[in-house]
Symmetry: C2
Subunit: 205 residues, 2 copies
């Protein structure tokens, strides 16, 4: 695409660097900003810059936070014996929404993915081991996605944590509640048979 304006070309190029936004969408967004008051663009630019500049990570769980310690970690009413390992803030939000978990979190900040250049050292694994060493945690729950990269990360964490006297669990996988069996994909269905649980346990849920 050739533009009649370098300012426009640069704005489009920058917007199109964002994941999932092509040149055409970027042009549409730039033209949208042009139709809005200038303040809208200033506010957007300022919000992005301040966010990137000033955002903190919680010293304890490594979640995004404006404070040195996030609200969840600052809450002393939660169960300090259970820690839930997640990939990023979206997973913390998703699990908090279920209201089923009362322990603390540990945010890895990613998952091992050689394709994206993310190795174990890019994650907050060292800090996780330090926490376990303090001997107050009785259970670590692996709550990553159901992808190959997440499986790799789970296995890597398992190897690191196995020497410690801590129970290691993983969130269950299987047929989503409300789904029909015949429409479930083969892999999920096959696994759900292999990892079947006593019916009495299923009743407890």
């Amino acid at each position: 695409m050739e533009f009649s304006s370098k300012l426009l070309a640069r704005a489009v190029d920058e917007i199109a660097q964002l994941p999932g936004i092509g040149k055409r969408s970027a042009l549409r967004l730039a033209l949208h900003l042009l139709k809005q008051p200038k303040d809208n663009t200033y506010h957007l630019a300022q919000a992005l810059t301040q966010f990137r500049d000033q955002i903190n990570f919680c010293q304890k769980c490594h979640n995004l936070s404006d404070q040195p310690v996030c609200e969840i970690c600052a809450n002393t009413n939660r169960d300090a014996t259970v820690i839930c390992v997640v990939e990023d803030i979206r997973d913390v939000m998703a699990i908090e929404n279920t209201r089923q978990f009362k322990g603390y979190y540990h945010v890895l900040g990613g998952i091992i993915s050689p394709m994206d250049g993310v190795g174990p050292n890019d994650l907050t694994l060292e800090s996780l081991v330090e926490k376990i060493k303090q001997n107050t945690i009785k259970e670590v729950i692996f709550a990553l996605s159901a992808t190959v990269e997440a499986d790799t990360t789970n296995f890597y964490m398992y190897k690191i944590l196995a020497p410690f006297a801590v129970k290691i669990t993983a969130i269950s996988r299987g047929i989503p509640i409300g789904d029909e069996l015949e429409y479930t994909d083969e892999v999920t269905l096959g696994r759900s048979i292999l990892t079947r649980i006593p019916y009495e346990d299923a009743l407890k849920e």
Copy 2:
């Protein structure tokens, strides 16, 4: 969505103001910026601000331009007797890509759309009439989209320009080249029969 950080919440809110981007996508984009070097965010913010601040409109055709007069209008080799009326810069780019038009453009800056609060006074219609009054233009081509709003705008322009001694044409509508008849929608097919042209004319294309 409740966020653990106000900075994140504000960034997500601002991004989600853009058309076609929901809160979930906005969060994804914000987290993407966080994984990139800070400079990426600064460059994006700067490009948007500079674009919105410094962008000019060509004094002649009202297209986006870094100069007072855009490259097309500054080109004296084009045909000054034909003017092509379009909605915005994207349409200028699309028509230029066809290499089938050698006249000048007139960019309306939008189309009449009461739903979006866009009326005739928001468009560059006055400047279009001024151009016609100079009596050098022999033909005005309406090259708007094939939507209801565009039809309204075409009709409004037709009413304004009818008193002047200028030929008014509109780009043809019909079955896209390469499309099969049986898959063409009824309205397009019906219209293409009503607006049929002599076969000798079709041969010239």
